[in-house]
Amino acid sequence: MDLLDRRRVYIVPTRAGLMMFGVVGLILIGATNYDNALAYILCFLLLGLMHSAMLRTWRNLKGLGLEVADAEPVHVGNPARFELQLTDPDARERYAFTLRRLLPGKRYWWWRPRFEGEAGVETVPAAGLRVDLSVPTARRGWLTLDRLEIASSFPLGVFRTWGYFRCSARCLIYPAAVGQRPLPGVGESSADDTGTAGPGVDDFAGLRGYVAGDSLRSVHWRASARSDLLLVKKMQGGGRGELVLRWQDTGGVGDTEARIAQLAQWVLQADRAGLRYGLELPALQIAPEQGPLQRERLLRALALMPA
């Protein structure tokens, strides 16, 4: 958990705050000119109000804590959804925040930082609050949340306070699954298969436990109802033979990224077809296997393949 201590909470007046300071100055000039006691009083009251607003704005943020878990992998283009857990060890009343991810990169004082993804928080209860933050994805590979800005201008909007949570939480971004070419080898292997007598793709071969990623369609609901576990129909696809998706098969598709995208699409297609499939990359070979674990293993390999 990362906690915003007082050294890491920053605060500056907003445009409205600068306007307020301007009006305080004007009132002071008017009060001096007309020697008007109540104008002086209001001028100093507003000054005190600014001070109170500054403290309250800063206090609103100070001491907040944040925990972030790794996000489920997504394909490029889909937003990575991080589950943030905001906690408040001080159990104070806190209101109106926004959370944004600070885009990594070198920053200069004259350069306005850039942000992406935004989530609003109305209040943080003493028990903590779960916030979903969607971060847009543009590149395959690891996306580390890195720095998360939390900001607030509650209560008066005349000061804006902000701080950065350091987050090591990350999300694996799978390559996009796009490509024109059909799944290679399916034609010949299925032709081979017709000769050998064996059970087909949809042949029921027993039950196994549910694994994350299993299609809901494959759940055996009736059997699950009888047992404590969610049971999935195990299909006998082995008769179809094995398919190895090879890097060299994607030759001529385009650049490296396009080839990876084509491979990713094949992985999804092969998985959907219930095949046993493997992957052969220039530096990596994965033996054919079946099921969601294999799909994720392959997509992960593709996501992390050096460009």
């Binding site: 907003t14 445009r15 409205a16 306007m19 307020m20 009006v23 004007l26 009132i27 000039i29 008017g30 009060a31 001096t32 000119n33 007309y34 020697d35 008007n36 006691a37 109540l38 104008a39 002086y40 009083i41 209001l42 001028c43 100093f44 009251l45 507003l46 000054l47 005190g48 109000l49 001070h51 109170s52 607003a53 403290l55 309250r56 800063w58 206090r59 100070k62 001491g63 001080d90 159990a91 104070r92 009343e93 209101y95 109106a96 925040f97 926004t98 935004e118 609003g120 109305e122 209040t123 003493a126 900001a151 607030s152 201008s153 509650f154 209560p155 008066l156 909007g157 005349v158 804006r160």
Partner: protein
């Protein structure tokens, strides 16, 4: 800023209400069109917010152009109405118009902030018209509301209106210590920075430097405070409380004025007996005269006495003025130059023939001046003269008409005709306008003189005695003049003689005195806090040689300490822990057990603790277990109800110490 939420129609009510309340006191001061225009504009905006009317934005270019036209028309109206003057009234009109127009243009949070900040500024504009306590309290309320409006637009919608208002109030209260320190220590620059616009004291009332019949009748009905006086030691007797204002020498038969002679150097009095020192807190009246008891011998203000020893300030009294004065009650003023005599005997040619004839008759009868004065007063007392505030009009010769026909009038009529009689009889005489008496405030020990105490009397020059005060009104209506010229009346005066036996009237008087006492202290200590008072305060605190630089040092020092303290209080985390009701109840339960010698250890959870207590005290076991279980369910389980059960159980749980075996 992206941290702000988007504007809701409900937020608009806050902002609109704050502006409307800040502008409300101006409603009577601005042309009617402004008030109506503001209401129309606010109504249009609110109907627009709820989608009933289109708003003048980019989607409706025709309406947008209409808005520009209205804006131009408003500015033209202001220019025409105030003749292009740059002053207080025109400024307020302009700001009000801007506020009204900005409402129609209020689209996003930034506009909302602009309106709120403008509202704070509008609050200040009210202070240039009135600084009384009710005004100050009302505008403090508007300030709280404006702050709450800012909270509203920054708070999540789930935060209720009441909590926004409460937070606004707390924040205003929090800012008060800083306000007080700054108010006391901020260096005051002397004098206006660019001069005060001519209109900034319009609407103030008071005696003018001249007198035409009917003027004081109007004042007689006004309850406004003219000035307040504190005597540094014993107050003089009420019959001497003649507060002299402008002295009028010259007349054209109807109108009395100070005349050229008034500007000459004052004669020196021969002073006998004691002098009285007093401090006057004079309300702004727009003229130059300063009230003083006769005869003034010293004053600290920027003022000097005129030829009749009437005190004149060097500039017009445009704001509340405080000065010290010293007067000698027993004196003689015997100096009378030829010019003085001529001015004090002059009567317009052919005016007041009958009055003149009467005066001349007394003179030819060989009466001594003193006897003539008595004869004139006797004439007022004997003939059926009536004192009234609503006399008949005197279109022809006002003096002859009053003395010989209508025989009704108020102090001006009596004073003027008396002076004409004296002059006709060859006795130098002049009119003194001013105030008589005053209400003594027993709570804060000062005299309050109202506009309704305005009075006019005469001064005649008697050989040997010099100038002597004669109050002809007293001959007719001694009750009008609390203690008149013949001075027989002793003791009870105007000083709170109103139905003392009546308890209700007494209470009412007390209340009124209390209120005026507050108003007095307010104007003396708060509104009248000036550079001199500041110096006095700091010197009383032991700081010598007050310079602006030192003031700033003090200000910075005190503010540092104060802000540090405030910061500590506000940032103290532990003080603000919000406990759920269940935790509070459980805390009470634990406290009761601790009292009988079974405190909860820091590491113990509710169930564990209950088991330990149950083991130690079998008689409490079932109840302790029940409470612990309910609390655990409420706190850690997902049972949302059961709080009332827990509450009733904890309330009923009164364990006693186990009897010693």
């Amino acid at each position: 800023m992206s941290t702000a939420r988007s504007l809701q129609p409900g937020d608009l009510w806050w902002c609109l209400g704050a502006v409307a309340l800040a502008l409300a006191p101006h409603a009577g001061r601005l042309p009617l069109a402004f008030g109506l225009g503001f209401i129309a504009s606010a109504g249009w905006r609110m109907l627009g917010a709820y989608g009933r009317l289109p708003l003048p934005d980019r989607q409706h270019p025709a309406l947008w152009w209409l808005l520009q036209a209205i804006a131009l028309a408003s500015f033209a109206l202001i220019y025409w109405r105030y003749q292009g003057q740059v002053g207080r009234d025109a400024g307020v009109a302009l700001l009000s118009a801007l506020a009204g127009l900005k409402l129609l243009e209020l689209r996003n949070n930034r506009d909302y902030y602009v309106v709120c900040v403008l509202t704070y500024f509008l609050v200040v504009t009210n202070f240039f018209f009135s600084q009384e306590i009710p005004t100050a309290l009302y505008l403090l309320l508007v300030t709280v509301l404006t702050t709450a409006a800012l909270v509203r637009v920054n708070a999540p919608p789930a935060m209720g209106a009441l909590r926004c208002a409460r937070l606004g109030l707390f924040m205003v209260l929090e800012s008060m210590p800083l306000m007080v320190v700054c108010f006391l220590l901020f260096p005051r620059l002397p004098g206006p920075l660019w001069g005060i616009a001519a209109d900034s004291s319009s609407g103030v009332t008071g005696l003018s430097d001249e007198m035409t019949i009917g003027r004081i009748a109007h004042l007689g009905t006004s309850d406004e405070v003219a000035f307040r006086v504190v005597f540094s030691d014993k107050a003089p007797p009420a019959r001497d409380l003649y507060w002299r204002g402008p002295v009028l020498w010259h007349t054209d038969g109807r109108r009395w004025q100070a005349g050229d002679i008034a500007r000459r150097a004052p004669p020196s009095p021969v002073v006998r007996g004691r002098r009285v020192n007093y401090e006057v807190l004079l309300e702004a009246h727009g003229s130059r005269w300063l009230p003083a008891l006769e005869t003034i011998v010293y004053t600290d203000g920027k003022s000097r006495p005129g030829r009749a020893r009437d005190l004149m300030a060097t500039e017009q009294v445009k704001r509340r003025l405080r000065y010290h004065a010293q007067s000698a009650l027993d004196y003689s003023l015997t100096e009378l130059s030829a010019d003085d005599r001529a001015a004090a005997l002059a009567l317009p040619v052919r005016a007041h023939p009958r009055t003149r004839e009467l005066g001349q008759r007394w003179r030819t009868q060989g009466l001594a001046p003193r006897a003539i004065v008595q004869a004139a007063l006797a004439n007022f007392a004997a003939a059926p003269f009536t004192y009234t505030l609503t006399p008949q009009l005197l279109p022809n010769d006002p003096i002859d008409g009053f003395l010989f026909e209508t025989k009704e009038g108020f102090c001006e009529h009596f004073a003027a005709s008396f002076v004409v009689l004296m002059r006709a009889a060859g006795i130098p005489a002049r009119i003194v306008t001013g105030y008589q008496g005053g209400e003594y405030n027993t709570i804060s020990e000062y005299f309050m003189v109202r506009q309704s105490d305005a009075h006019a009397w005469a001064e005649v020059y008697l050989d040997g005695d010099g100038w002597v005060r004669v109050d002809p009104t007293a001959a007719v209506a001694p009750e009008r003049v609390s203690l008149g010229f013949n001075g027989a009346n002793g003791g009870e005066g105007a000083l709170g003689g109103i139905g003392r036996d009546n308890a209700v009237a007494g209470a009412w008087l007390n209340l009124r005195q209390l209120w005026d006492s507050a108003a007095y202290h307010w104007s003396r200590h708060v509104l009248g806090y000036s550079a001199e008072r500041q110096r006095g305060l700091l010197e009383a605190l032991g700081m010598s040689d007050v310079t602006p630089a030192r003031l700033v040092l003090w200000l910075v020092g005190v503010m540092t300490v104060l802000l540090g303290l405030l910061t500590l209080i506000l940032l103290r985390g532990a003080g603000r822990v919000v406990l759920s009701p269940a935790v509070r109840l459980y805390g009470r339960f634990c406290a009761r057990l601790a009292r009988i010698g079974l405190p909860r250890a820091a590491h113990e959870g509710p169930v564990e603790y209950a088991e330990r207590v149950a083991a130690a005290r079998g008689d409490l076991a079932s109840e302790v277990r029940a409470i612990a279980q309910r609390f655990a369910l409420l706190r850690y389980g997902d049972a949302p109800d059961g709080l009332s059960d827990l509450r009733s159980r904890v309330r009923a749980f009164r364990p006693r110490r186990a009897p010693r075996q």
